[in-house]
């Protein structure tokens, strides 16, 4: 005999215990350490920090461990903590121009002041599985940085007496000197928006859009960026510069009257240079798309820059023809924590609404059959549309 279903509480507890056991895997295999994840799965850690909007390598590593390596679940864990953290204040804007560069490449010029710095990159590797990684063999040591010629050293010493190694200039700024590229929008001094403290509203200004993209899903932005390259809102992009490295974070301390360095964070910045035909008011010049991401993620920074540029169609007097240009479409669907929640909530019970639909479809079918007895029908009756 049927009695109303009971036991949800115990079932949930058991499922969680099973999850914990499954997460641990074979107990014969040593448990993975947070430090191992932080040091050896550093790009996974970077992604979790970037989309979790919280720069903390240890917590991101912990989240990855708890999430069994699932990036979005780990991002979610970090976000749920971030939202409870008190805000002490806002740091000064970081200056990527002063970045301690680990990698910096430009596709628009063969050589650039400060040089092309390849850094730790998968580019140019042959994607052949490396069996030696299955052992604990030591990797080959990278060669030390080449010694600078005496002449270069002297020039550098003259240029920057206080700075031991002057930071390389931004490549797009070199174009700016000739007016060939639009200037970076000036700092208006206005308080930037905080999407985690104010609801997203439309139309969204560029700073809001960039903030949304910076914490948006890498895969979603990648697909959108890719679509602009295949003709859906073509923007003729060139990588003006990608740079990755450490920048200092500073907080202005009212009591002291000056900014105090809090530490360093690693960022990846992409300045995309795009064609622009010009308009009645503006002569032809290059325009910018901008991407900035926590940690090392060129894929995300580049995708972000492509989408940022596509979203600027209105300001540049272009035609809107493609999804990547549609701010409501892009910004409302970029957040993977929101997206995964709403997609996956479909597995929650919906039987009350389904019952209502069952009732309707049965009724429509009965009416259809009754009509069929009297007159021939040419079209099947449509079922009611499904809504969440």
């Amino acid at each position: 005999m049927y009695v109303a279903v009971k036991g949800g509480e115990r079932a949930i507890r058991n499922a969680h215990d099973l999850l914990a056991q499954t997460r641990r895997g074979d107990p014969e295999v040593p448990e993975i350490g947070i430090d191992q994840i932080r040091e050896q799965l550093s790009l996974a850690v970077d992604r979790v920090m970037a989309e979790g909007s919280l720069y903390d390598r240890d917590l991101a590593a912990l989240a990855l461990k708890q999430a069994r390596g699932d990036a979005i679940e780990a991002i979610f864990l970090l976000r749920a903590l971030r939202t409870t953290l008190p805000r002490f204040g806002a740091t000064l804007p970081v200056d990527t121009g002063t970045m301690r560069v680990r990698r910096r490449v430009s596709a628009t010029f063969k050589d650039i002041p400060g040089g092309q710095v390849l850094g730790p990159t998968f580019d140019y590797t042959h994607r052949l599985l490396d069996p030696s990684l299955a052992t604990e063999a030591e990797p080959r040591k990278p060669a030390p940085a080449p010694k600078k010629s005496a002449q270069a050293k002297a020039a550098q010493a003259r240029a920057a007496v206080q700075e031991p190694s002057a930071p390389p200039p931004r490549v797009v700024d070199l174009l700016g000197d000739e007016g060939l590229i639009e200037p970076s929008p000036p700092d208006t001094g206005a308080e930037p928006p905080d999407l985690t403290r104010a609801p997203l509203a439309f139309p969204a200004e560029r700073e809001t859009r960039l903030q949304n993209l910076a914490r948006g899903d890498e895969g979603f932005l990648l697909a959108l960026g890719y679509s602009t390259q295949r003709g859906y809102a073509r923007t003729h992009p060139f990588v003006g510069e990608i740079r990755m490295g450490a920048v200092q974070v500073e907080l202005f301390a009212e009591e002291l009257g000056f900014a105090v360095p809090l530490g360093e964070i690693t960022l990846t910045e992409c300045q995309m240079v795009n064609q622009f035909q010009g308009s009645a008011e503006v002569p032809p010049q290059f325009t910018r798309g901008y991407g900035l991401v926590f940690g090392q993620s060129e894929r995300k920074a580049m995708s972000m820059a492509l989408v940022d540029r596509a979203l600027r169609w209105q300001e540049l007097g272009e035609e809107k023809t493609a999804p990547a240009q549609d701010a409501e479409f892009v910004l409302s669907h970029s957040d993977n924590v929101q997206a995964t929640g709403f997609v996956e909530h479909l597995k929650l019970p919906h039987y009350v609404d389904f019952q209502a639909e069952l009732d309707l479809v049965r009724r429509l079918r009965a009416e259809h059959a009754a009509r069929g007895d009297s007159e021939p029908q040419d079209e099947p009756t449509e079922a009611a549309e499904a809504t969440p």
Partner: protein, 296 residues
């Protein structure tokens, strides 16, 4: 060795500043019945789509002496209801109940309890898509304009097209209502069977949509009218049979499949209502004796 910071949470998880922000949105929502108030929804420790809007509203209004009931599909024992009740038990330490009459705050997904609500109670709905016009117009910039102008022609055309195609309105849940003669509102995906319960309800009804960052409200004793036409008046679902367990008529029933030969039964979707009736001695056609008197 990595040292992790100690992590502590406030009463009912949210910090007081956040609660204040949510309460302000709630007050505005009560002042403008049926109007969707944008609010800075927080990431909650459960996924979007699992009731983060309802949880934030509940967290913002919960006091230490409140008694909380959580239902999903009308049941207190579905997984999500259990999880949310457990969340507030753990973070706020409030008393919980499954009895509708005993609760001061009831958080719900997809149902309104069968037992009539009373003054002083608050019903908190979890809302997936707060915008009743969303599937007619996907753009928020447009729908806000339509609400501003009280231009609900789109919705009436949709309902009219249903009638011309099917002979009646083919919306069975999340059936749109007009609140206090002004805003058309999505009542969340409750079956339209529950719509009449919203009208002139003595309890305060609050709606929270976390992912969509909206809060709206129906103050006590507000006129709530389900949209219809003079020649096609609004109708609720009717069931041919009473609840198989408690014999209740005029309640919303779940269809339970008993075997693979087409055997099925219909039972109350509101499990508390069903249990109370059975405890009072009501027995349906397939009902067991009252709990405690039969086999375990």
């Amino acid at each position: 060795m990595t040292v992790m910071p100690a992590i502590t949470y406030n009463f009912a998880y949210l910090d007081e500043q956040t609660k204040r922000m949510i309460r302000r949105a709630i007050l505005k929502a009560i002042a403008i019945p049926g109007y969707q108030v944008p609010f800075a929804s927080r990431e909650m420790p459960m996924p979007y789509g699992w009731g983060t809007g309802g949880v934030q509203v509940t967290a913002a209004i919960l006091g230490a002496d409140d008694v909380l009931k959580v239902i999903d599909q009308g049941s207190d024992d579905t997984t999500n209801a259990v999880a949310i009740r457990g969340f507030f038990k753990a973070t706020a330490g409030v008393a919980t109940t499954t009895r509708t009459q005993e609760a001061t705050v009831i958080q719900t997904r997809h149902r309104i309890p069968e037992t009539a609500l009373t003054a002083g109670q608050v019903l908190v709905y979890q809302v997936p898509i707060p915008e009743p016009l969303r599937f007619l117009e996907p753009r928020e910039t447009e729908t806000r304009k339509l609400h501003g102008l009280a231009d609900y022609g789109l919705m009436h055309v949709k309902l009219y097209e249903d009638i011309s195609r099917h002979g009646h309105i083919a919306t069975t849940y999340a059936y749109p209502v007009a609140v206090a003669g002004r805003y058309v509102m999505d009542p969340s995906p409750i079956p339209k069977f529950d719509n009449p319960k919203m009208d002139d309800c003595p309890a305060l009804q609050l709606f929270g949509a976390g992912r969509e960052q909206r809060i709206y409200a129906i103050p006590p004793h507000t006129r709530v009218v389900s949209l219809d036409f003079e020649d096609h008046p609004f109708e609720v679902q009717r069931f041919d049979k009473p609840c198989a367990l408690c014999g209740a008529q005029d309640v919303y029933l779940d269809e339970v499949i008993l075997d693979d030969r087409g055997g099925r039964m219909f039972v109350c979707s509101d499990t508390d209502h069903c249990e109370s009736r059975r405890a009072d001695g009501h027995v349906g056609p397939l009902g067991a004796p009252p709990p405690g008197k039969g086999k375990p």
